[in-house]
Symmetry: C2
Subunit: 138 residues, 2 copies
DNA sequence: CTTGAACCTCTAGTCACTAGAGGATGTAGG
DNA sequence: CCTACATCCTCTAGTGACTAGAGGTTCAAG
C-alpha cells in the first residue's frame, strides 16, 4: 500500500523534485525508506501534499502554508489565526490586482500610438519621460 | 559636470547597488572612472537609467528593456517591434490580473467562514479538498 | 592632514522551484 | 536467475532582479 515518490507525484500532481524540495524545507516529513534508500509514502502524505499544492495554487507562500499546516495539528483551537493568514494573503492579492490594473491602463494608453518611426513613437516617449504618464504615483 | 554613482542614484531614483547590477548585466555601459577607480556618469546615463527605471516600474522584464533600448538606437526604423514588445507585456499583465481575480474570488468565498474550531473551519476544508472550490480549473 | 561619508570588489542570500550530472535501485519479462 | 531500463538517489548550480554584508579604498571638506 506504500507509494513511490513517482506515484505520490502523480496522485498529488506535484513534480518529483518539488516533493524532495518540500521535504528539504520541512513542509513534508521525512518518509520511510526501502533498504536501498528509496522513499515510500502513505495516504497521510498524499493528503498533506494535496493541501500544500492547493494552497500554493491559491498563492499562499510556503511560510504561510507551514503555519496553516501547524494549525491543522490543533483541531480544537479557534480558527482565528487561519483567518488572519488568509485575510493577509487576500489583502496582498487585492493589492497586486490594483497595481496591475493601474499598470494595464498605463500600457493601454501607450499602445494607442499608430505605427511610425521609433523617434516619434509614443511608447518610447512615455518610457523616457515619466511625466507623460497618466498617473504620477508609480 | 560628471556625477558620482550616488548622485546618479538620487537623480534617477535607482539604488546604488542596482546601478552596479545593471552595469554588470549590460543594461548600462561601463562609465568612465577616476584614477581611484570610482565611476563617473554623464547626462546620457541619467536619461538611460530613467528609461530603465520607468520601464521596470511598468513591469517590463530586463530582457524586454534591453530590446527597447537597442531599438532606440535605430530611430528611423518603424516602431512595430516596440509595439510587439509592449503588447506582449500587456497581454501578460492582463493574464496575471485574470488569474489573481479568480484567486481573489476564491479567497473571498473562503473567508466567509465564521470563527469556529479549526476542525470545522471552511478555509482548512477547502484547502484540503480541491473539489470544494468554486472554479475547478486551477 | 585628518575625518568620515561614499565609494570599491566580491560573495552569498532571497523565493520556490528547475535542470543536470553521475550513479544506484527496483521490477517486469525472458 | 538474469538482464534491461524506468525510476530512484544525492549533490550542485541556475533562474530573476535585485539586496546585504564584509573588508578595504578614495574623495572632498574643514
Amino acid at each position: 500500500m506504500s507509494l513511490t515518490i513517482g506515484a505520490l507525484s502523480r496522485q498529488a500532481q506535484v513534480k518529483v523534485p518539488t516533493i524532495r524540495y518540500y521535504e528539504q524545507i520541512g513542509l513534508l516529513a521525512e518518509p520511510s525508506r526501502t533498504e536501498g534508500q528509496q522513499r515510500r509514502y502513505g495516504q497521510d502524505d498524499v493528503r498533506r501534499l494535496n493541501f500544500i499544492r492547493h494552497a500554493r495554487e491559491l498563492g499562499f507562500e510556503v511560510e504561510a502554508i507551514r503555519q496553516l499546516l501547524d494549525l491543522t495539528g490543533t483541531p480544537d483551537r479557534s480558527c482565528g489565526e487561519v483567518h488572519d493568514i488568509t485575510k493577509a494573503h487576500l489583502a496582498e492579492v487585492k493589492d497586486k490586482i490594483a497595481r496591475l490594473t493601474a499598470l494595464r491602463d498605463e500600457l493601454e494608453a501607450m499602445v494607442t500610438c499608430d505605427h511610425r518611426r521609433i523617434s516619434e513613437c509614443r511608447i518610447i516617449e512615455v518610457l523616457a519621460d515619466h511625466g507623460q504618464c497618466q498617473h504620477a504615483e508609480h
